[in-house]
Symmetry: C2
Subunit: 127 residues, 2 copies
């Protein structure tokens, strides 16, 4: 995952503070795109809000009116966007959120009060 490495290396000036450079846009857009589907947004939320920090695919699949392969496809998309991580434990596969990219997106979308001045309060911590 070389793209993942790029995402990890970038950091988070709010979108409304200065123009986001092409490379940052290219690196972060795939994560936004991955969350830009209602099913994946719910999946992401279920994973991120899961008790114990992880959730089994077997709990994810029945929550939607979709087939197993389709859910699997959406989970793969989230995985490739660097938003979640999976690991198999015995028969079941568990998914866990990766907060790093989520942090970056939240910081990017933070709106500073007025157009041009830099407000430090708007900056969330970033690796």
């Amino acid at each position: 995952m070389s793209k993942q490495a790029v995402v990890d290396a970038l950091c988070c000036p709010p979108l409304s503070e200065r123009r986001v450079p092409a490379e940052t846009a290219a690196a972060l857009a795939p994560a936004l795109k991955a969350l830009g589907d209602p099913v994946r947004l719910q999946l992401m939320s279920m994973i991120a809000s899961a008790e114990g920090g992880e959730i089994c695919v077997c709990d994810l699949t029945p929550a939607f009116d979709l087939t197993g392969p389709t859910i699997s496809h959406h989970l793969r998309t989230l995985r490739e966007a660097g938003l979640v991580d999976a690991d198999r434990r015995g028969t079941w596969v568990y998914y866990r959120a990766r907060p790093t990219v989520l942090h970056q997106l939240a910081a990017l979308l933070t709106v500073v009060p007025t157009g041009t001045d830099a407000t430090p309060a708007a900056r969330s911590e970033c690796s």
Copy 2:
């Protein structure tokens, strides 16, 4: 724009605090999808960070290696997602950011420290 009304009416429990309901996901996903393209992410940033709060299409178009119609198409997508507003003033058309949806997205993507507890500091103001 009935979808826009829905977006405006919704509000912002962080994605990682509790599972986002299907209706919220359906309402917010289009905005994330709209930002999930590198060109549109840069356009959004240029608009949101513009001096005076607005920017002319004639300043947007030459910043990309794309034709006018293509930029126009992307701007329409942002407009339909409720992220920007346009108005024509004489020959030129100016675009302005709508912070409401951006606020909601930032709040949604905010990651609360540990899986289950609600942290009030993570909540940004929301109309």
